[in-house]
Symmetry: C2
Amino acid sequence: MIKPLFWEADTLKIVDQTKLPEQYQLIEINDHQEMAEAIKRLSIRGAPAIGIAAAFGLVVGLRQFRDLSKVEFFKKLDAISDILLNTRPTAVNLEWALKRMKQIARENENLNNKKIIKILTKEAQKIHEEDIISCQKIGKNGAEIIPQKAQILTHCNTGGLATGGLGTALGVIITAHKQNKDIKVFVDETRPLLQGARLTMWELEHENIPCTLNTDSMAGYLMAHENIDLVIVGADRITKNGDAANKIGTYSLAVLADYHNIPFYVAAPSSTIDLNLKSGKEIPIEFRSGREISNFRNTQTAPKNCSTISPAFDVTPNKLISEIVTESGFYPEK
Amino acid sequence: MIKPLFWEADTLKIVDQTKLPEQYQLIEINDHQEMAEAIKRLSIRGAPAIGIAAAFGLVVGLRQFRDLSKVEFFKKLDAISDILLNTRPTAVNLEWALKRMKQIARENENLNNKKIIKILTKEAQKIHEEDIISCQKIGKNGAEIIPQKAQILTHCNTGGLATGGLGTALGVIITAHKQNKDIKVFVDETRPLLQGARLTMWELEHENIPCTLNTDSMAGYLMAHENIDLVIVGADRITKNGDAANKIGTYSLAVLADYHNIPFYVAAPSSTIDLNLKSGKEIPIEFRSGREISNFRNTQTAPKNCSTISPAFDVTPNKLISEIVTESGFYPEK
């Protein structure tokens, strides 16, 4: 199985996803600062994966401070958690995982620091393991709505690299393929950082699932001419009413699917659902550097210092979503 | 004024648009083969511009054969015309310009070859000059429908680089700006070859028109959040019923504009209208190399030899187009 991170012999390593598909390279993460930088530059990304990464990031950060007094140790816990939390604002999984880690620490504050770190390590592993199971269930639930023969359009990367397990939307696709359904996937390249081209195509080829790469701008053409049966994407935060934030371009896709009467599905674990927010209007949207659009690596592809706009996410209103698939069924229940 | 090609002292030079905006480089075109290659690799592109380029390409190709017999000379005329015509199938301007050149040659077949070449040179210049005037009129007609204050979204490049003159859709924007309208332009980068990022941004900055670069996938977000007042694009071929082929992604934009109740305009010269075709279904769509999607120049951005789909154009049905602006008014007349 493709994994975004490895915890082995108390050492944390992540796959540097910015290098894929040209190079598969592991980076060792020695403290929370290194993890925060890795999350910011998208060496590890995907809502469930960064939740897991933050949990392990907290562990590797905190273990430097095991000799501090209890009060200082807990101050560090909060400070490290804040640093990790502030890397990316949109995905709620980061907040969810860190909150859970902090709570476990508090529940065990009477133990010595070393033991607390051990418990936190186990909790991070548990978060990871739960996500593996969650992905399997999302895959199984989602595969039920995939026809026996289906041409599927997807956006961004929602596979093994984006989660702890099989993936969310890609997990559904992989599960349907394993059930011997006749699946063909069209993959939006997903500008500006090409997670579809670089990561999803790589994962689908790894799984031997027929896949074809297209630019994001071809979605309308494909829906009109290539018999797209359904669209399925992941989510970074889902609000109480079922609005879903996901990679920029998802909203355009949902409008196009609606126009062409094509079902539009979202697949995500429950940890992505933020019941504190009533609707998508409340979701904080991350704006990233304009350089991601105006340059390709070190090559200038637009006039120097030109004005850019670079929202990394958009929000799809629930009325454009046919179903939200989670590990425990469909949300909201009808 | 920005120009895609120069005819000076019987020498033909074109701007190598593949190098912009990093480098402004002129290439001398010595025969029709060089012109055909330049059109194929998009060193010169844009429906009106490639019509003009083909006319001059015919001249520089044919003048090598001025000493042939009349019969052989006219055989070469047809052969050169076919080579130029077969470079790109979608834009009708290529066919339109070459047909006109061949007809002028036939009308003067009693003259000697040298004189015919002289007449063809004048005709190519006339096609160029007419396009300059046509752009001015399109600009003037189109500016009438641009509000006093407008945020405009455009796609691909339709300016001085794409035409003989001011441009089509960009000509409308420039004209409105010159009329002191308060214009701000959002520019789709236009994957895969980034004509929006590389060329339109460069032209708009040259004209001092406020402009912001976005990825194509941000169009829905911009329409929902940035008060887009209208979308205006060019066209490569318009059929009798008013369907319009244009750069891939245009159809998606039109659907999005329709969903958001935003007017969607097409600007093009009458030479783009193909009355021989009843509807957009009959327009031949060019498919380009998948390498344009799977690689950025020499950098691999997707798995090696992955499957791709790469239509260079799509067709927007007339029902999604608010108005088609031409040099002589609106098409079809209502």
